[in-house]
């Protein structure tokens, strides 16, 4: 019962494979950069095909690159090729009309997107059990740049329009009218129930088709006579005959477009018919998309390469056989037989879903419809136990088919309810984010509005600007190990997004690094440039506010100063060491924070870091930075200046999950005001008199320990007094008159700061030494030195030291009060 959900006849897929043309000789483009391999260009171009969803089109699922420029195309495949019917079952005229209608509809859909099929034949029209069609393999010509990236012609001889053979100008090659001709031939085959020119050799077929140029009369009629089908032709209803005649106009200009054909009276009756199975209100197919199924299939062990190998489409041959006899100086290769594998391989490999069915066999139907807003004990009773692998490492969670199944079902429903479900999305994202939906989930976390496409469309992304050269040289250096980002299409899209951003954010300028910052968004939304752009646009004010100002010096330096303080707060030993060897964040951390690590880590790591960043605020990168230092801690502590800086010029492998967990931990343990900055975006923070303000950069650079706000201090006093230790450094008289509840008094003047020995502070030394997890808040007043004391504690290796901003006096205005008078207490 449950499995049947997956067992729709439409949920099937297959793979085909071919080789892209290899570059010969010259390996550099005109810009001096290496030429992009054709398989990568194809890879980039083909991404768009994955967005096509139409009842008469098979869905493209995946493009995979193999060795030696191999491209594998994974696509839906269901039903039977029409060629298998021809010669067997004679279709009725109304059936032919229906097919004609569906062909025009499907092609029109493609032509609207500027995709020319070019390869249409009865073999790649799949007939479904209900008689509807689905076009298969319609994107080859498109993804290969009009066939230019492969060595074989993309066409089916008998179905190709005559102009295809005339090596016409480029514009004509890509004309959608060639498809219309093919429809004409296909319709004739259906009407005559006969394959045309089946007994002719290739050359003869071409000659035949070219002979139509001399045919003064109707081509349809000519074909009918040649195939002894004149009677059928003669008795054909006028409307359908007309359609075929128009398709077979020798001059492409005289052939109507698919759109024009669809206006034909004859098709009116098909127009309002729902294309699929209208009897059921809720079709089971609709609860899963083919792409999800494909991902789950892969997670359960499905392997396209393996399937191709099993069925003999990928064969390895001994390398010695592929050695050429002669290579000329210009790179021309001679004496090498043509590898038959580089020809068009028409074979299709069907991929069975049995392992998936088995693995998911036990999943309860209820799991497909998780209740989001309403639950009761009774409902709960009938629910299957949740599939729980929460505590396993992220990599395992991402690879577990069943876990991903549950997560995707849940998130898809939540996303469907966005923006109303925003809070729930946020809550669930804290656990983890399923890779398949990451792009959409990020967009939701970044509050992207529904009408984002229009806003992007109107931005000028073309006008030449002075920034262009820099963008131009940065793009080919931006995450180029990634197939999407290194593809031609990827470069074009990245350029457009960057130009749009620069154009739209006149207060900012393009800094090197902005390319890296954009890369994750483009990678996740490769087929939705507008969304990638808007994610970037929403990300900048939230996490790198003002970082891209023409003069960002104050902003960056404040950020780096905060970083130093955060290190001191959590790791005095490391902070002291780095301080002593003059190893400042300026020297290594600018790319970290300017690009939020997107210039530092490979994409897959960035994704995991940002999964968490998007749930945090602009201080989170500081914590990530700290966690990176922490991982390198032992090395850093024993290294001098040169070795430290060398370590960061060539950053060693960082265990990113460990790093993230550590960052989340320090993020939670750090009061917000510790990392508060003057330059953070007010839009995301509410300021009150009890927050920190008015600290100059010079102050900040002098203070090695951070300040804490009165607000955070009172919050901690009220909610978690055991987690803090308040040290009042005013004189005993002031202290006894009025002090913070639970605070201890270490008068500033009683301590000799000469050497870094914690015993110097007297009776409370032990308490401080044992304060490890407690936040040490130093409270002073205008006449106490607020630098020396924290510096002393820091040098003594006391962690979590901070200074109350505004001093003791600021606390007097807090209500209800957190102060007590010693006189009354004792």
């Amino acid at each position: 019962m449950k499995i049947s959900l997956f067992k729709s006849p439409e949920l099937q897929f297959s793979a085909t494979t071919f080789f892209a043309k290899q570059h010969k000789g010259e390996t550099c483009g005109s810009n001096g950069l290496p030429l992009t391999p054709n398989s990568i260009i194809i890879f980039g171009k083909a991404q768009m095909l994955k967005t096509l969803k139409h009842p008469y089109l098979c869905e493209y699922l995946d493009i995979i690159r193999g060795k030696h420029e191999r491209t594998i195309v994974v696509s839906q495949f269901c039903g039977k090729p029409a060629s298998e019917f021809i010669g067997k079952n004679q279709l009725s005229i109304s059936e032919v009309k229906k097919i004609a209608f569906q062909l025009f509809t499907a092609l029109n859909e493609l032509h609207k997107k500027r995709i020319v099929h070019r390869n249409l034949s009865c073999e790649n029209i799949l007939i479904q059990s209900n008689g509807d069609i689905k076009l298969f393999n319609y994107g080859s010509y498109y993804m290969t740049n009009n066939g230019q990236l492969v060595t074989f012609p993309i066409m089916k001889l008998a179905y190709s329009a005559p102009e295809v053979y005339l090596s016409p100008s480029k514009a004509d090659i890509a004309s959608s009218k060639v498809d219309v001709w093919s429809v004409g031939i296909i319709l004739i085959e259906f009407i005559f129930n006969k394959q045309l020119w089946s007994n002719l050799k290739l050359g003869q077929q071409i000659r035949k088709i070219l002979s139509f140029y001399q045919c003064g009369t109707s081509i349809f009629e000519k074909i009918a006579r040649e195939h002894n089908c004149f009677d059928i032709y003669h008795n054909l209803p006028q409307d359908i005959k007309e359609i075929v005649e128009q398709c077979l106009q020798i001059n492409p200009k005289n052939r109507p477009s698919c759109e024009e054909f669809l206006q034909n009276e004859m098709f009116v009756e098909y127009k309002n018919v729902k294309c699929k199975n209208p009897s059921r209100v809720c079709k089971p197919y609709q609860i899963f998309t083919l792409k999800e199924l494909y991902q789950w299939w892969q997670l359960t062990g499905g392997d396209v390469f393996l399937e191709l190998k099993k069925q003999g489409l990928i064969r390895s041959s001994p390398p010695v056989l592929s050695l050429p006899c002669l290579i000329m100086l210009d790179g021309t290769i001679l004496g090498q037989g043509r590898n038959p594998a580089t020809l068009y391989d028409f074979r299709i490999v069907h991929m069975g879903l049995d392992t998936l069915y088995q693995r998911f066999g036990h999943i309860h139907l209820n799991s497909c419809y998780p209740l989001l807003h309403f639950k009761s004990d009774i409902i709960d009773m009938f629910d299957p136990a949740p599939y729980d692998i929460k505590n396993l490492p992220l990599v395992i969670k991402e690879k577990d088919p069943e876990y991903q199944f549950h997560r995707i079902i849940l998130f898809r429903r939540l996303l469907h309810g966005y923006p109303f479900t925003k809070d729930m999305i946020r809550k669930e994202a804290k656990k983890d984010i399923p890779p398949l939906l990451r792009g959409e989930i990020w967009a939701a976390l970044l509050d992207i509005k529904a009408d984002y496409k229009k806003a992007y469309a109107v931005i000028d992304k073309e006008t030449v600007t002075t920034t262009d050269r820099q963008i131009e040289v940065d793009i080919p250096r931006c995450h180029q190990y990634n197939e999407l980002l290194s593809s031609t299409e990827g470069h074009i899209k990245l350029r457009r997004i960057l130009k749009a951003w620069v154009q739209k954010n006149t207060q900012y300028v393009y800094w090197q690094g902005l390319d890296s910052l954009t890369a994750p968004f483009l990678y996740l939304n490769f087929n939705d440039e507008a969304k990638a752009y808007h994610c970037l646009s929403a990300f900048v004010p939230k996490y790198v506010h003002k970082f891209f100002l023409r003069d960002n010096s104050a902003v960056i330096r404040e950020y780096l100063a905060k970083f130093s303080q955060l290190i001191a707060f959590h790791d005095p030993e490391l902070a002291n060491h780095l301080h002593n060897i003059n190893f400042y964040p300026e020297l290594f951390a600018i790319p970290w924070f300017l690009t939020v690590f997107s210039h530092v880590f490979p994409l897959y790591k960035i994704l995991h870091v940002w999964d968490n960043l998007l749930l945090g605020d602009s201080s989170f990168p500081l914590h990530v930075g700290l966690s990176v230092l922490t991982q390198l801690r032992t090395k850093l502590l024993t290294a001098g200046f040169n070795d430290c800086i060398l370590l960061f010029s060539d950053l060693p492998e960082v265990d990113i999950e460990k790093s993230i967990n550590y960052s989340i931990d320090t993020f939670k343990k750090t009061p917000k005001s510790i990392t508060a900055r003057e330059h953070q975006n007010e839009e995301f923070t509410i300021q009150s008199e009890h927050d920190i303000s008015g600290v100059t950069l010079d102050d900040l650079n002098k203070e090695r320990s951070p300040r804490i706000s009165a607000r955070d201090t009172t919050d901690l006093l009220r909610t978690a007094p055991e987690s803090i230790l308040v040290i009042d450094i005013r004189n005993p008289v002031q202290f006894s008159r009025c002090c913070v509840r639970g605070s201890i008094n270490i008068p500033f003047s009683s301590v000799s700061f000469g050497e870094s020995n914690i015993e110097n502070i007297g009776q409370h030394a032990q308490m401080l030494k044992n304060s490890q997890e407690r936040i040490v808040i130093i409270v002073g007043s205008t006449d106490t030195d607020l630098e020396l004391f924290p510096k002393f504690l820091l040098n003594c290796g006391i962690s979590k030291v901070c200074v109350l901003h505004g001093g003791f006096n600021i606390l007097t205005s807090v209500t209800p009060t957190v102060l007590v008078s010693q006189k009354f207490e004792t």
Binding site: S30, G32, P34, S553, N582, L587, F648, N701
Partner: protein, 214 residues
Amino acid sequence: MANRSGAAQRPNGTQGKICQFKLVLLGESAVGKSSLVLRFVKGQFHEYQESTIGAAFLTQTVCLDDTTVKFEIWDTAGQERYHSLAPMYYRGAQAAIVVYDITNQDTFGRAKTWVKELQRQASPTIVIALAGNKQDLANKRMVEFEEAQTYADENGLLFMETSAKTALNVNDIFLAIAKKLPKYDQNQGQSGQGQGRRLAEGDQGAKTPGNCCK
């Protein structure tokens, strides 16, 4: 020739000197500064070399007769916006390589600006080399060899056309610089980390090593 591994250890018993020099690479973005350093230090070339943000630091040791020369190399960011960071790196440097791309005239112009700035602001004894990089793309050349040579002669610069890709003249330009640098033994006195420390301290006191990104 540059010695890639363990060159810092002097042959047993000989009285070789060890010298350390701070060298900075300057030049327009994408002319191949990082690529030159990568070729010199690791013997590698990455077609898709990442752009440099801020600066990167690497070291390499070469042997010159009886002297071991250790280069502490600062590879800077080329984008004009990072310009204000540059003084932090060339200040106190004993040598500089100013790089341009022979296929791009503008980068040559920028190189001249850098030379001028160094002549005005850097140490008066600084050894400056001019590198016309991407020599392997000579068929797309936009800056003539003679033009650059004349300019270098007029300004007393070392000059070579280099290619990080084919390794042409890469070690040679570093060696030529090493030869031109005054050598005094650093075995006694200064510790191995002296140069870097000098950089960080800068002129403005310990707390403001660089007016970052101004």
